[in-house]
Structures are given as structure tokens and as C-alpha cells.
Symmetry: C2
Subunit: 242 residues, 2 copies
């Protein structure tokens, strides 16, 4: 028997297991029954970040709620590699894209950071977290990365866990991509703002024993492009694309 994954995938905060009943929130019921027009007997895929992916069947469909019943596990639980993606928030649409792309590309945690040249004083963490959830539903992941609150880069570096390597993209070293050291274990990638990192930040980063500068080719990349390119280099060198 082939276990097929239904087309609609939904992240739920509920235990999943054989014949497990899962109650739906008003928003989820609206999406499944109002927007997607599902009826009793229809199938959706569920994941919760710990129990893998399950094929579930609509048992009750209402305007304000509903119940799904798990029928079969369709994918085991998998975690993305232990990789953080640090980025300086930019314009709304591109910030949304960076969050979406980080999830698709398999970052485990997303940390918006305030750098010297970051204009944003605040972010809408809840909105970015919802984007991350949507991206996980869409890309077939069984895990939703946490989007942290906005933190100052200097404070983050002051408390940095020393066993976590940090790859940062140094525009001043434009040209050939520098090879990433093949160090296993936890990693992070820092994507600066469109204005680049400041000279003080550059000096500080280069002095950190766990930080590794790489260049991303001879052209100047926008922050969202740089995020995907850096994640690709990391994933093919050290991550789950190997």
C-alpha cells in the first residue's frame, strides 16, 4: 500500500498518533472548510514538530471548529540541522521572504538582529512566526523554526555559545566565495542589512575565533538573495543537502 501525502498540510499544536482526534481552532476550520471547501472524509496532512507527519481525515466539519482523526503516519519526524539564521530586518516584503526562505532552506532557528545599519527598531514577531509556520506547511517540513524577538547583534555576540560557528558574508571581500571550514556541530549564518555591516562590526567579527567570513561572488546581493545563497553553501557543505 502506498501511503500518499494529502495536498493540504497543517501545523497543529496537538499530539499526533494512530486514531488520535485533533480538534480544530476557528481559524483552522475556516481555512479547511470555508476556504478550501473540504467536507467530512477529506484528507489533510498534519504535523506538530515532534510526532512526524500524519494523514488525517475530516470527522466533523463546522463553521467554528471541527475534528480530524489521524489515520496513518506519512513521514517520520525530522529536524533541520542545528543552524541559526541571523538577519537584519529590512523592508516588510523582503523580511517576509527571508523568513520563508530560511524555513524552506532548513534553518532551525531564525533570529532577527539589530546591527549598526539596521533601520528597524521593532519587528512583528507574531506575523513572522506565522510566515514561518506557513512556509513549513508548504515545503513539506515536519518542524517549524522559532522566530526569535529582535535582539541587538552586539548583545547576541556577548552571550554567544562558543561551540557554535558563525558564517558571515563580508561584502568587503567580494570576489570568489571563500571555502567554509568543514567544522561539524552547531552553526549560525549572519546576513547583514542592505547597507552592509559597519567597519566596527567587521573588525569585531573578524576577531572572533568562531566567526568565518565568506564572500558571495562578484556582484552585490540583496539580503534575501544572500540568505538563500549562504544557506545553499552551508547545506551542501555541512547540512542535510550533502
Amino acid at each position: 500500500m502506498t501511503v500518499q501525502t494529502p495536498k493540504i498540510r497543517l501545523y497543529v499544536e496537538h499530539p499526533l498518533g494512530q486514531e488520535q482526534q485533533v480538534g480544530l481552532s476557528r481559524e483552522q476550520a475556516h481555512y479547511l472548510f470555508g476556504v478550501m471547501r473540504l467536507t467530512v472524509g477529506a484528507q489533510v496532512a498534519l504535523f506538530n514538530g515532534t510526532d512526524g507527519e500524519w494523514r488525517a481525515e475530516v470527522a466533523e466539519a463546522g463553521k467554528r471548529g471541527g475534528t480530524l482523526v489521524c489515520r496513518a503516519q506519512t513521514a517520520p519526524q525530522t529536524l533541520p540541522p542545528d543552524l541559526w539564521l541571523l538577519f537584519a530586518p529590512i523592508k516588510k516584503a523582503r523580511t517576509d521572504f527571508i523568513v520563508e526562505k530560511s524555513v524552506e532552506m532548513g534553518a532551525r532557528r531564525i533570529l532577527p538582529v539589530q546591527t549598526a545599519f539596521t533601520n528597524s527598531e521593532r519587528i512583528r514577531q507574531d506575523r513572522l512566526q506565522a510566515h514561518a509556520t506557513e512556509a513549513a506547511e508548504q515545503c513539506g517540513a515536519t518542524y517549524v523554526p522559532e522566530v526569535a524577538d529582535l535582539t541587538r547583534l552586539d548583545r547576541l555576540l556577548a552571550d554567544w555559545p562558543e561551540d557554535r560557528q558563525l558564517m558571515f558574508c563580508d561584502e568587503a571581500r567580494a570576489g570568489a566565495a571563500t571555502a567554509l571550514p568543514n567544522t561539524p556541530g552547531p552553526w549560525a549564518i549572519l546576513i547583514g542589512p542592505e547597507g552592509g555591516i559597519s567597519d566596527a562590526e567587521r573588525t569585531k567579527l573578524h576577531a572572533l575565533p568562531y566567526a568565518h567570513a565568506i564572500a558571495l561572488g562578484p556582484r552585490i546581493l540583496r539580503a534575501d538573495t544572500a540568505a538563500v545563497a549562504a544557506l545553499t553553501i552551508w547545506q551542501t557543505t555541512l547540512g542535510d543537502w550533502q
Copy 2:
């Protein structure tokens, strides 16, 4: 003397050289003098795709036109590698992103293609070409890739130049990224639509001697993410990021 590049970069269809005068179109004059508020004596960077980048000075500024004079060459002419990016047009915003990213990432030619699962019957070639020009201005390139008209993939493959290798992303082979063969010379990358390529297309592509399937990790990437990831792998393996 340091030759600094001015912050505003403009693509012009005009020869560039020492003391060369460059007349501005109405749109260019509006942008420089109306939007960016430049006045006589201000400096901009010009490139035309053949003569490198030049620092030019505003000599005349009018509402409907103006003149710039080239003062010094600030970058030599460089071409991106001989790489085509074929993609199936998707929703407007993501199509725009793919064009923008292809330019930043150094594709030399951008070809929208109609595949079995492509919904678009037509594209606005002029709008996409304008996007490509803007991306080249922004990313520091001295070359603007041509955006071709929409072509059917089967017709393009029927006339394919056999010395051009083709890398395509096969979702059916999700998992580890397959290594790209280290074949020098002209290349192309094919990014399928969000619905993937059809079984018939897959069979046909796998049978072509110049086509190479690669996988882009264990998650399903959106077309715009896949474009940047595939371009990164190509550029670091065979292109100008080496």
C-alpha cells in the same frame, strides 16, 4: 587617487568613454533630477553593457532631459558566465523575484519557458526586461541580461545547442544534492513551475545527453528559492564565484 563609485548607477544605451557626453531620456531625467534631486555637478555611475562602468557628472539638468559627462572609468566591462536561466513563469511577484535574482546571481540570459504545468500563456517581456535592468543597476553589474520572450520548453529543447549543458532540478529525486559534473563551457539551468515538471518532461529530460538532474535538499523549494539555490551551486562549482 581612489576612484570611488557614485551611489546611483544607471544603465544607458549610449557609448561611454573619457569626456563622452551622454544625453538623458525624459524618464532618466525625471529619476535623477525629480526623484533623486540631483543637481549640476552631482555624480552618477553609468554602464552600457560594453564599455564598463564610468563615473559621470551632471552637466545639464532639466525636467525633460539633461546631459552627463563621463569623467573616469570606475570598473572594467565584465560579462557574467555563459549561463542561461530557464524558468516557468509563476505568480507576478515571484516571477519578478526570479528575474531580479537571476541578474544578481550572474545569469547571462533569462528565458521564460512554458512547461506542461505552466499556467501563464504570456508574460510582459518589457516589464521583466525593465526589472532585469534595475537589478543590474542595483547589484553593481556592468551587463544587463536579456529576458527572452516566452517559449515552449519542448520547442526550445528541439533546437537546443548540443554543446550547452543543462542542469535541471528534479523534485522526484529529493534528498542529497547530486554533484554537478565539472564540464566547462556554456550551461543552462531549468527551474520548473510550482507544480513540478510532468512525467513526460522528466522522461524526456533524463534521456537528453546534455541534461543533468540535481536535487535541492529534502524540503520542497518554491521556484524563486530553487532558482537562487541552483544558481549558487552552479556559480560555486563552475562560475565566477569559484
